[in-house]
């Protein structure tokens, strides 16, 4: 941890650099979502845009956590505390995957085998 004034003076350039990267990252996020020739995947928003957008956001968030929040050189206790929070959140996101296999969309759920299951409404129409 940058404790001594000298060490802090040295790390100021790092902070400025990270700040600049964050600004650039934000501009890039907006550009890949709005400039047509930077659009990944299909035209308009689709899964690839989500992956790219979230990847940039995760990179930015990791930079904030590592440098501004000093997670790049922290004590073990902090890693355990924060890490356990992250583990629970990941598990929670895993639960949303269950929505895909919700039996409510399965006609056999109602005991009527002959009925074709209603399609899961797609968030975007193409």
């Amino acid at each position: 941890m940058a404790e001594t004034p000298d060490a802090i003076r040295k790390s100021i350039r790092t902070y400025l650099f990270v700040g600049a990267v964050l600004f650039i990252g934000t501009v890039v996020t907006v550009m890949v979502a709005t400039v047509p020739w930077l659009d990944v995947g299909n035209h308009g928003f689709d899964a690839w845009d989500a992956v790219l957008g979230l990847a940039i956001a995760t990179t930015k968030a990791s930079l904030v956590a590592a440098v501004f929040m000093h997670l790049n050189h922290e004590k073990k206790a902090v890693y355990w505390l924060f890490g356990s929070g992250i583990v629970f959140v990941t598990a929670l996101f895993g639960l949303t995957a269950l929505a895909k296999s919700d039996p409510i969309h399965d006609s056999r759920f109602y005991g009527k085998e002959s009925v074709t299951p209603a399609p899961l409404a797609s968030p975007t129409l193409r």
């Binding site: 907006v30 020739w37 904030v64 505390l81 929070g85 996101f93």
Partner: protein
């Protein structure tokens, strides 16, 4: 008493105590926001309507992102300045941080305000119309409600000639509202006939309130009191009489079960009658002259000649044509209609051509035709740039559902500009990004007038959580985030304005405090780093 380990680290953890505390708190915060973000994913996957993707204005969101990132840098600098014992620098950077928080909240407030004044309505055929709501102007003036405010909401209009209140359920604020509406129309609400009742056992009928007495909450409360007293009195009498009968019946039929003798146990109603007090369940008033009153759709179940409020007040009177009048329509959205058509196996384009709006309003057809031409142009450009897949014969890239089926305010503006309407200047357009379309400058030629008959109103709402789950989760996450910004800024401001004394006595302690506050501030920034692309760009 000295608090241990606030400056020096504890041996077992290697950290000062407040740092452990803030990380515990941040871990819980991660789970809190994680919960909401996973709720977002869940709602989006399961949405049974077209998700309003990329619907928020990007510019305010982008500026807010810059502001929060900038403030994250300055809060680190404020902490570093304290570590280097530079008080003036600390003051400067902390002031900038708090100013950033203030600007962020102002922009957020502007964004919310636009949503709270923007109305959407879904027609029975799932066409969605958005715009600015009001009532028809009368003699060139806005129609004001009884408070003198412009009506900007969907309302049910009734020419009320009589009101019957339930003495138990009447809702006092609504009674006051009715009185104020009547006063606005120069009408009086008076008791239709005498309310006469027996209020003491064995006494004669007395008059509680005379016909013609004006409506007031006090009058209703008085009648309510008499009613409740009568009801409890009568109830007690009936119970006592019934108990007597039961005791007698049980004595006459020893060994029998209750259900075997129950049919023979009856109260002698005529014997009880003289002892009973009069219950006043409802009380009728007349409105003279009959006055036009307006009600929120959620408060009233309307009928042609009689309507009922949620507090069981019955309104006698003709239901007036209560159209929903858009002063300015700024978006027509056929995405939901198209989705329903596809679900039914129909052609979405044919469904749109057959929609009520297209067939009843020339401006809608005109806008639709214009949009079709725009989509055709876009299709051409996409084919020219990205070619056609030789295997399937389909273009590699196609216009999105939003481009095909939604005519938003920017499209309306472009259409009008193409037709020769003057363009707005640079700052005019920037201001629209923050405040929404400028109806006054662009005029009715751009954003047309529309009067929607009541039977065509399926569901209407402002852009609040009531409109759909997208806005529900948007307001939940951004609102909660905004509260965090305010809370964090308050803590940092406390260090700035009240930290001097601690700085002089124990600067390291203050530096540690600022580090803790800073950690929270970075976390707030971190949440926004995810919230911005998710809500504004996806």
């Amino acid at each position: 008493m000295e608090i241990p380990y606030i400056v020096t680290p504890r041996k077992d953890t290697g950290l000062f105590n407040s740092k452990i505390a803030i990380w515990l708190f941040l871990a819980s915060e991660v789970m809190l926001f994680g919960g909401f973000f996973s709720a977002y994913v869940f709602l989006r996957i399961g949405a049974d309507y077209p998700w309003p993707e990329r619907t928020l204005p990007v510019l305010p969101g982008l500026i807010n992102t810059f502001i929060l990132i900038g403030s994250s840098v300055t809060v680190v600098f404020a902490w570093a300045s304290l570590k280097m014992r530079q008080w003036r620098r600390f003051q400067f950077f902390m002031t900038v941080t708090i100013a950033c928080a203030a600007i962020f909240m102002v922009l957020k407030g502007l964004e919310y305000n636009v949503k709270f004044h923007h109305q959407a309505v879904r027609l029975p055929d799932y066409t969605v119309i958005e715009g600015h709501l009001g009532y028809e102007k009368e003699k060139g003036k806005e129609v004001l409600d009884h408070h003198g405010r412009k009506i900007e909401e969907n309302r049910i209009l009734i020419e009320a000639s009589g009101l019957t209140f339930s003495t138990v359920r009447f809702h006092t604020p609504w009674v006051e509202e009715l009185l104020s509406q009547a006063a606005h129309r120069n009408a009086k609400i008076t008791l239709a006939e005498d309310v006469s009742a027996i209020t003491r056992e064995g006494q004669a009928v007395g008059i509680l309130a005379k016909a013609g007495e004006p409506l007031s909450p006090a009058l209703l409360e008085r009648l309510q009191e008499a009613h409740l007293e009568a009801r409890s009195h009568n109830g007690a009498l009936r119970t006592a009489a019934l108990r007597e009968k039961w005791t007698a019946a049980k004595a006459e039929n020893p060994g029998k079960r209750g259900w075997q003798i129950a049919s023979g146990v009856n109260i002698d109603a005529t014997a009880l009658e003289p002892k009973l007090l009069t219950e006043i369940g409802t009380v009728a008033f007349k409105v003279d002259p009959p006055a036009r009153m307006n009600f929120k759709p959620r408060d009233v179940r309307e009928g042609d000649t009689q309507s009922r409020l949620r507090d069981d007040t019955v309104i006698d009177g003709k239901l007036l044509a209560s159209p929903m009048v858009f002063h300015n329509v700024d978006a027509i959205d056929f995405r939901h209609l198209a989705m329903k058509a596809v679900e039914k196996g129909q052609d979405p384009m044919a469904a749109i051509e057959n929609s009520w709006l297209i067939n009843n309003h020339a401006f809608a057809r005109e806008a639709w035709e214009w949009n079709k031409a725009e989509v055709a142009k876009l299709e051409k450009t996409l084919i020219a740039t990205y070619k056609v897949d030789p295997k399937t014969g389909k273009p590699n890239r196609e216009p999105t559902a939003k481009e095909r089926y939604r005519i938003g305010w920017k499209e309306f503006a472009k259409k009008a500009e193409d037709a020769g309407r003057p363009k707005l200047g640079f700052w005019g357009r920037i201001s629209e990004e923050f405040k929404g379309p400028n109806y006054a400058a662009r005029g009715e030629e751009t954003f047309p007038h529309l009067s929607l008959p009541r039977e065509q109103i399926g569901f209407s709402s402002k852009f609040t959580p009531a409109w759909n789950t997208y806005y529900a989760i948007y307001f939940t996450i951004t609102g909660l985030h905004g509260l965090h910004v305010i809370g964090g800024a308050l803590v940092l401001a406390y260090y700035l304005f009240f930290g001097r004394k601690m700085y002089e006595s124990n600067p390291e302690w203050l530096a540690n405090r600022v580090e803790i506050g800073g950690l929270f501030w970075h976390f707030v920034d971190l949440v926004w780093i995810f919230a911005f692309p998710i809500f504004y760009l996806m």
